[in-house]
């Protein structure tokens, strides 16, 4: 996924970029509207994160211009305002969603996912490993033509493994990415979800294996 971050607070923009890179996505940063128009016209983005108060104008103008061109690119507005009327206006202007600063990356991730899901419908991105197909935007896996619906955390966890098969993830890495930081979660909780996924994918020719004291990784059964 490629993300355009339009945000004038340099540190916040950098941190958003770092987060998307850690998640395996690419991103560009624009600190003002002028650069944003240039980035937008010269490259393809899957989603745009847009701040409202920018040094050379109002982020809403960017939104209006894009929508006037009948461009339905997913745009999530980042706002610090508490006023809901402002958010209602944003949605009326064509924003797909809004997120209130300060936000957790997990919430941003969930909102991006929801927006993309709404936008793409059944034309989903598909991650494939072994005989398992994962459609993250509709939270469904297919094993031997059989569909199984996943709950959010199961999806998030499996998506991490499917994006990086054969890579070892420690418990805390998985916990950070699956749970919200504001939740008081014991790192052992991840074991419950690993067990659930193992049960869901038992018919597949892939398996999550435990590396004692190190973490977990997804491998094809033939490789084990």
């Amino acid at each position: 996924m490629k993300v355009l971050i339009i945000e004038d607070t340099v540190k916040l923009a950098d941190n958003l970029k770092s987060y998307f890179e850690l998640e395996g996505h690419t991103s560009d940063i624009s600190f003002n509207l002028t650069d944003a128009y240039e980035f937008y016209s010269s490259s393809h983005y899957d989603i745009v994160l847009l701040d409202i108060l920018l040094p050379d104008g109002d982020g809403r103008d960017f939104l209006k211009k894009i929508r006037l061109k009948n461009d339905s690119k997913p745009i999530i507005v980042m706002t610090a305002k508490s006023d809901i009327s402002d958010k209602v206006d944003l949605l009326d202007l064509g924003a797909d969603d809004y997120i209130i600063k300060p936000f957790e990356f997990s919430e941003l991730d969930a909102r991006c996912r929801a927006v993309l899901r709404r936008q793409k419908g059944q034309n989903q991105i598909c991650l494939e490993f072994g005989n398992l197909k994962l459609y993250p935007l509709i939270a469904t896996i297919t094993i031997n033509s059989q569909n199984i619906i996943l709950r959010n955390r199961e999806l998030r966890l499996l998506e991490i493994f499917m994006n990086s098969p054969n890579i070892i993830f420690s418990k805390h890495q998985l916990t950070d990415r699956v749970f919200s930081i504001s939740e008081n979660v014991n790192e052992n909780t991840i074991e419950v979800y690993i067990a659930r996924i193992r049960k869901l994918i038992k018919e597949a020719n892939i398996k999550i294996i435990t590396l004692r004291g190190i973490g977990y990784k997804l491998e094809k059964i033939n490789d084990i």
Binding site: N15, Y19, A80, I84, P102, F105, Q173
Partner: protein, 460 residues
């Protein structure tokens, strides 16, 4: 809102008392004046009659053969007597010696002349008598002799007339008092009608109606109207400043918080040292706490502002509710909650302040997400009738709230199940204040199976 203000006598009653007192005083003065004039007229008439009588007597005194002679004018006495039932007394003295008449009739000390008799009131035989006296000099016996003539008359006529007039006067004064009171009442009513009209207008003015008062009112009320309009202007400015402050505060507080939080999250993702991770988690937790408090305090300030200046708009209630749910669904999904919306009625176009409505719903769903048992469902049920709407939000809780229901509506009051959950205790109090502002109701119920249920009831 009705304030208990210690009220003294009303302006109307004050005016009536003042008018009444003035009328009574005027009535008494009029009564005394008329009585005095009538009395004066009667006395003048009586004096003229008595003057005529003494003159008539004095003219009948003459000297014959060096002797003083008198032909009493009985026709004069009968004339005076015929006018009323008054008794007539007379006395004639010559050189301070009684000559004829009533000997015991008191002699006066001063006498007038033919043109100007002296009149005096005296008491004789326990009767009040009006006396006219003159002195006349007659020359006989080779010298000037003084003849004193006094004619007295009782006050029967005067008293009778006065009695009759007074009786009529009482009646007239009563009629005057009655009409004066009626006119006073009418005057008070007419005088107070602009004040009453202004008072009614101010009473019926909605708390959020900040329009200036521009009615045509008496010039005496101009300072009051100017003062009221001045207060309305100040209130408008304060409300505008509040709105700007809330907006700016949100931006200036939340943007740095967003930077700190994102920095901490990136550091946490990259950190492998358990000790550092714990520290970073604590930092993030504190930021969340600060953010939550700030957001809800700003929300609260915004709600107080909106309750003063609601902006009524038309929208489809269920459609808007679905949008709010969709906006919150990603947050619910992060925690593995599923939000189910059971629509029990047809959607309806309603008139309501959208921000107040959204804030109430958002806070309740937000609460449900925070306190629901992991991986449970949050169920929203919506019923709309012709006049009201009922929205219930249910979630399973695994701990008891541990506080009386009403206590939860108080600011900064949280249940014991809120331990380790970020929050301020403002959410339910905000919703409750919104419902009070919308003349609705917020109810909390604990249903079987550990279900916490918040119900919003409001008309539109």
């Amino acid at each position: 809102m009705i304030f208990n203000i210690a009220t003294k006598i009303s302006i109307k009653n004050r005016l009536l008392i003042q008018f009444g007192l003035a009328t009574i005083v005027i009535s008494v003065i009029l009564y005394l004046l008329i009585k005095s004039i009538i009395n004066h007229v009667i006395i003048s008439t009586q004096d003229k009659l008595l003057s005529a009588a003494v003159n008539s007597i004095s003219e009948k005194i003459y000297v014959d053969k060096n002797e003083l002679s008198l032909d009493l004018p009985y026709d004069t006495f009968s004339l005076i007597g015929s006018i009323s039932d008054d008794k007539i007394f007379y006395r004639i003295d010559l050189n301070n010696k009684f000559l004829t008449g009533y000997e015991d009739f008191p002699i006066v000390s001063k006498f007038g002349n033919l043109r100007e008799p002296i009149f005096k009131n005296i008491s004789y035989n326990q009767q009040n008598i009006r006396v006219a006296s003159i002195q006349k000099s007659i020359f006989f016996n080779g010298q000037n002799n003084d003849v004193y003539v006094s004619v007295g008359q009782t006050f029967n006529l005067q008293e009778n007339i006065l009695f009759k007039v007074t009786n009529n006067l009482y009646f007239l004064v009563f009629i005057y008092l009655f009409f004066s009171f009626f006119i006073a009442l009418l005057t008070a009513k007419l005088t107070l009608s602009p004040i009453k009209s202004l008072a009614n207008k101010l009473t019926n003015k909605e708390p959020n109606d900040l329009n200036y008062i521009k009615d045509d009112l008496p010039i005496e009320l101009t300072p009051l109207i100017n003062s009221l309009n001045g207060h309305i202007r100040k209130l408008k400015i304060i409300l505008k400043q509040t709105e700007i402050f809330i907006s700016e505060a949100a931006h200036h507080i939340k943007t740095p918080l967003a930077v700190v939080k994102s920095e901490s999250e990136i550091a946490l993702i990259k950190s492998k040292n358990p000790e550092n991770r714990d520290h970073l988690k604590n930092i993030i937790s504190s930021i969340n706490d600060v953010n939550r408090s700030t957001s809800q305090l700003l929300d609260h300030a915004m709600i107080l502002y909106k309750l003063e200046r609601p902006e009524i708009s038309k929208f489809y209630l269920i459609n808007k509710l679905n949008k709010i749910i969709e906006a919150l669904r990603p947050i619910a999904e992060i925690r593995n909650f599923n939000i189910k919306h059971k629509i029990l009625s047809k959607d309806k176009l309603i008139n309501l302040d959208l921000i107040l409505y959204e804030t109430a719903i958002r806070n309740l769903i937000d609460n449900a997400i925070k306190y629901a048992e992991p991986e449970s469902d949050i169920i929203i049920k919506t019923t709309i009738t012709e006049t009201y709407c009922k929205i219930s939000i249910e979630n399973k809780i695994n701990k008891i709230i541990g506080a009386p229901k009403k206590e939860l509506f108080k600011r900064f009051r949280r249940g014991i199940n809120s331990e380790n959950i970020i929050g301020t205790g403002l959410g339910l109090s905000i919703v409750n204040e919104i419902m009070q502002g919308l003349k609705g109701n917020l109810k909390i119920k604990y249903n079987k199976g550990g279900i916490f249920c918040a119900i919003l009831l409001f008309s539109f």
